[in-house]
Symmetry: C2
């Protein structure tokens, strides 16, 4: 059986410039493939399940913002611990189209699978599938399906499903379904949570009309109403169509007799609606209206609109990588994934996994603002704005949280779906106050890159003011007038509750200065927020007094006060192996030693670039390289950026290759829970900020483009205040072009360059100063060489 | 109704020199009274429930070591988090004797309660009760009951219950019961734990023979077998006796007709047995053997043996306080409670609440070795030895835990019943490694005070060696050769995960030195533990290199590195009120500011007395006084000791008064969960180490007795290497006497004094140097003045 043959080979993805292909099926790897082949518009997420529903890895159909609440269990509770948790749940699954061929259900594990192809198309925004199958009884069919999650119609996903009789005439039955409360393969480890999440939806009605059906549900605890509706366009062969629905299942049955070569085509349009406090009929109407709207456009119209949206995105966003097809594929996959995660999120959070899986319970974290927003700001600024507006909309929760913590201003949730804190381990969440400065930095960066004054006035200023207030109340001034922020956790999750974390202090300093600047720019609005000159002066004084510890003896900035004096992790004895350190060592050991899960001070070298001299950067990078085990997917891309800046281009390339393969090669073994959206964003960052050397500071936009030997060329575009700035980087020179708009100034290796619309300016690449020996990493944690990691 | 009248008055305990009396009943305060009136021998614990079972506060009948396992819930788990928790459970309750008078059940809330007296007798070791009651129908009885938990018969508790017809003839029915799986008033907040603890016992048989019955049970998860048996001696009136038993209830029904003035007397003997891996018949035999044994002694024999044991204890242990009857009562209650908690624990743990309540789930903590063992060592050294042998018996668990944490040697459980770690919040448990040094210090102190070389060879040496190994692996030596212990938590629970906690480092230093000394004293045994000269040398070097941070600028030892540089808690704004700070502020705020729950550096001033100069002590005490809120019951006694040492005798007296009333006046509002045994031990310590100035160091025993103005005299005895050393302290002089044995040397205010058996030596009290201004406490947390706290 060909099927068996396909199953035993490890199946690599096909390398394509504008998509990801896969020939054959590897049932054991379905969970991973479903994440890679997930489609989303930021509002709806459909994992890349096989149309017929089974076999499957992890069923997943999500609506951004639909979650269930559950109790948070603690062995020993404490003041301020969240009592209620939030978990993303599956909404009724509209992907399912089961097929019966002459009374035998199509299942790729039975009969003979002659071929099976999948293709995710980054420009069409579709997932295509084609297969030829002969049933155990000998009936043969060819199937082609194409699905989209519409970027144009936010509430609509659709499938075109085509069956062809390839041999003898056959009778086929399609069951196109909406399935609610599907059982999930892995129960939650906590039975109380499992109880809640097992069947989170309670029916509020099911409705049938001709070939259409709608299911309306409500979540049991969070009180969210969800309606999912479907309708069908049947063409090709003559078919008998019947629809029925019960509480958790709606089914349209399409029966036809196909002669040899004859085809049946079904287009299934699925509409979604959710809300709190809307009646079931109201929700039903919304979902059905979405379907009706898309039905009018028809399949061709949906496809055309999809491509149009993506063409618009790629025009500026595309990153061209010359000479490395797998890297080329990876960076476009990354951009596609980031765009999918946020394109139509529209004032909802963008989860760490986007809508590609239920990992991290569907929560969003600091890395969205720190890692993903820069990509969106440069390539899809409208989506960036909407995401920041979502954060702004959670300000009341953040203010409540600050008050609960006896702090001023706002303390944004470390992990959340709707803005309320849902983290269950405070040393690595509540104490990680830097999230507030990360959000503030994203605001500053967005406003600077877009000139969007309206946003700054509507939302940005308030975020800056409330976060500045937080820092002002969180730290304290010592007898020598230095401002300290003690007992907090920086980005590195293997170091918690230290004093004066340099990343946090520098980011807070920038936050305070930015709040002061913004308040001065908008004095009228600032007054309505209760800001007076005294408060602004306080922020400026605090920023100026911010203590930044420095270890004179070693000539490096400690990650936090005393950090460089801690015991160094013994990498000779305590060899990490493949497992995460945190899975083999207790926090009490990790926290009190010099060992890093991820870039922390090195992230500061990048984000707060002007706070360090070139030499300090080089020394610090070398120092922390030897201590960083990269147990976090957030690390490699940042290490790539800083490695490139300090001249270790080969090392930067290796880190880029690692970042580029984290999801496609499932390096962390958990891509089945969904893609690492922040790490995918990091691929872009490693190229643009790493080899492009882009830094966006108050002094303007700078570049220092320098290619590693593995790349013969690199080209990318960014949106900047209404313009598109395009860079074409060759080994010896970089050509800058502004597509439209006013002239603009940038710096190329520190040298001012004036760019006028339409005119190419080519600048030479200066010689690379000797960066010294390649920095070393902990034993066993050296990155794979670029060529090996990206070998085809 | 007199009953109602009694109920509305707040009822203070009667002040008695050798007991605690209570006239009347206050149903709302029953939970507190049950803890105060609890009887225990360290093996069995019976809360002071009313004989008839109801009304009750919190039913409690415990057997030391009988617990149930339950899952430990975590919102976010981590490596090394205990998966299984342990909770003490109620064993079948043998206290219950219900009475029906002319068909009306005795309930103090109904009918007329003419008088109700309870009396806990510290010398007899009994709880007596007397009441006169008229039923709603007018039948009047007088009841006298006396119960003991036998110190002589470890497995036996007994009740003598006497009913007298005080008016007309009456018919009475007594139901003497064993009740298993009694419902508890407050469900556990975690439903998974509640499920386990609701009916933890599964019947393994019930047996009846004449007036005797036995229930055998097994715990569902921990697999512990429990047998409780009872038999009865009935005298006085003629009575009809029947016994029956089912799974969870055994009942002996005694029916009699009493003429006016006639009495029925029932002596109920209850025997207990528990074990793992013993058959139900085997357990039954053990429990019934215990009953048979006690029946032979009879009630009078039981009482006599009880008094004999207590006479023996009090001979040396009594502390006489002149001029302060309430303090006198409190200190004897404290000694009685400590003795009850440990007397017959015999290689089982002594829980934080003893066996007086289910608070802290029946776990033992570091404060047993740090606070309770010194009292036992001085007053009941056999009990001290047994408790340390229990710790020794948990060494395998402690070694397993150390290995799990990737450390050498042994890491004793922070909270446990059977030696396995059961704490659910690692920053305040696993990270509090000082428990290991506290245990080691208790070993050193015990061996020094008793000269018990056999114990040192059997158990002590191994504890010292394995804890020394822990420190050696936990800390690290810096480039300057100083040894640091970073990222740990000291005694103060409002400060966690700091570097070089002074208490921890000093205690670890002593631990390392003590291990080296002991290994050199017993080289043969040390070799069998794998100790060679190199290892000993390593300990000595590490001890010598131990870093003890000192803040030169402020002239005080910081509680931990950088502590004195942290922001000071703003006591003006963040006023504590009555609530614990931890109930109103998150750890993230508490940990990173200068605010102390309890003595930490001040505990080091006491425990590591020679590591500080007199001036350093005075400055440090003053510094930390201003920061300590005493949200822990462990604090006041230690503050009393150090206040006395630095000359603030009035303040010391106030702290002593606070310690003395924590349980009797229920200052923390949680005495219903059981008594604070460590804090009770602290009352003794505040007197003996505070006003007696006793310090036990490697250089010998020292005293610096000095009375506050509130005391006209203080006398106490301690056991010292087979002798009894007695001190009689007057304001101007102290008289020392050694009761027996070899001469011994002590120091009186630094001056050597030779003491010979039987000869009084009187030494004058030197003039008190000016201690300066009385140190101040955080606003609202000043101790109540002595006179007010101990007003009668």
């Amino acid at each position: 059986m060909i099927y068996r043959d396909i199953m035993t080979r490890p199946l690599p993805f096909d390398v394509m410039p504008w998509g990801i292909g896969l020939s054959g099926v590897d049932v054991d790897r379905l969970p991973h493939r479903e994440s890679v082949f997930a489609l989303s518009n930021g509002h709806i997420g459909w994992r890349g399940l096989l149309d017929e529903g089974e076999p499957h890895g992890v069923p997943g159909s999500y609506l951004n913002g639909v979650f269930e609440e559950h109790p948070m269990p603690y062995a020993e509770g404490g003041y301020g611990y969240p009592e209620s948790g939030q978990s993303v749940i599956n909404v009724p699954n509209g992907q399912v189209i089961r097929l019966t061929v002459d009374d035998e259900p199509l299942d790729i594990r039975e009969g003979t699978l002659h071929d099976h192809e999948q293709h995710l198309d980054f420009r069409a925004g579709t997932l295509e599938r084609a297969l030829t199958w002969t049933s155990p009884a000998g009936s043969a069919v060819r199937i082609r399906s194409t699905r989209i999650v519409s970027l144009a119609h936010r509430s609509v996903a659709a499938v075109r499903y085509e069956v062809e009789a390839v041999d003898d005439p056959i009778t086929i039955t399609l069951q196109s379904e909406l399935v609610a409360n599907e059982p999930l393969p892995e129960p939650h480890p906590d039975p109380r949570v499992q109880d809640v999440l097992e069947t989170p939806l309670r029916s509020a009605g099911s409705f049938v009309f001709d070939s259409a059906a709608t299911l309306v549900h409500e979540t049991r605890n969070s009180g969210i109403g969800v309606a999912v509706s479907m309708d069908h366009l049947v063409s090709g062969a003559t078919a008998e169509v019947r629809t029925a629905a019960s509480d958790d299942l709606a089914r349209t049955t399409i029966r036809a007799r196909l002669a040899f070569g004859e085809r049946l085509e079904v287009v299934k349009i699925v509409g979604h609606a959710w809300a709190s406090g809307i009646s079931a009929p109201g929700l039903r109407d919304r979902a059905e209206a979405a379907v009706a709207d898309a039905m009018r456009d028809g399949w061709t119209g949906l496809l055309a609109a999809q491509r149009e949206r993506l063409d618009d995105f790629w025009t500026c966003a595309d990153v061209r990588v010359d000479g490395q097809p797998r890297l080329q594929q990876a960076v476009r996959f990354a951009l596609f994934s980031v765009f999918q995660a946020a394109a139509r999120a529209e004032q909802r959070s963008v989860p760490g996994k986007g809508l590609t899986g239920a990992g991290y319970a569907g929560h969003t974290f600091w890395d969205f603002e720190a890692y993903v927003l820069p990509v969106l700001t440069a390539t899809a600024p409208d989506a960036a704005r909407e995401a920041l507006r979502w954060r702004h909309a959670t300000l009341d929760h953040a203010r409540d949280r600050a008050r609960q913590l006896h702090l001023q201003g706002a303390a944004f949730a470390w992990r959340t779906i709707d803005g309320r804190e849902s983290s269950g381990y405070w040393p690595a969440s509540t104490a990680a106050f830097h999230i507030n400065a990360d959000i503030a930095a994203a605001v500053v960066h967005y406003v600077r890159a877009t000139g969007d004054v309206e946003f700054e006035r509507d939302a940005g200023l308030e975020i800056l003011v409330e976060t500045a207030r937080l820092w002002q109340s969180l730290g304290c001034t010592d007898a020598d007038g230095r401002f300290h922020i003690d007992g907090v956790t920086g980005p590195d999750e293997y170091t918690a509750l230290y004093d004066d974390n340099v990343f946090t202090n520098l980011m807070a300093r920038a936050n305070l200065d930015a709040a002061a600047d913004a308040a001065r720019r908008h004095p009228d609005l600032a007054r309505t927020l209760g800001v007076d000159d005294g408060e602004i002066g306080g922020w400026v004084r605090t920023a100026g007094a911010m203590h930044v510890p420095y270890d004179e003896e070693r000539g490096v900035h400690p990650q936090a006060a005393r950090f460089t004096e801690l015991e160094r992790w013994d990498f000779e004895t305590d060899t990490p192996g493949d497992e995460l350190l945190q899975e083999r060592y207790p926090y009490v050991q990790l926290y009190r030693k010099q060992v890093l899960k991820q870039a922390d001070l090195v992230l500061a070298l990048f984000f707060c670039t002007d706070a360090f001299t070139v030499d300090e950067k080089a020394r610090a990078f070398r120092y922390y390289e030897a201590l960083t085990v990269r147990d976090s997917s957030l690390s490699a891309a940042i290490q790539a950026v800083v490695a490139a800046e300090v001249g270790h281009l080969g090392l930067a390339a290796d880190y880029l290759a690692e970042a580029a393969t984290i999801d496609l090669d499932d390096l962390h073994g958990n891509a089945e829970d969904g893609l690492h959206i922040a790490s995918l964003g990091g691929i872009w960052t490693a190229l643009v900020a790493g080899f492009g050397g882009m830094r966006d500071t108050a002094d303007g936009l700078r570049f220092a483009p320098r290619l590693p030997e593995q790349l013969t060329g690199l080209a990318f575009g960014i949106r900047w205040q209404g313009r598109t700035l395009h860079l074409e980087i060759a080994p010896d020179a970089t050509t800058y072009r502004v597509s439209a708009g006013e002239p603009m100034s940038i710096r190329h290796f520190g040298e001012p360059v004036e760019l006028t619309s339409g005119a190419d300016v080519t600048m030479p690449t200066p010689a690379l100063p000797d960066p010294g020996e390649r920095p070393t990493q902990p034993k066993g944690r050296e990155p794979r060489p670029f060529a090996e990691a990206l070998a085809e």
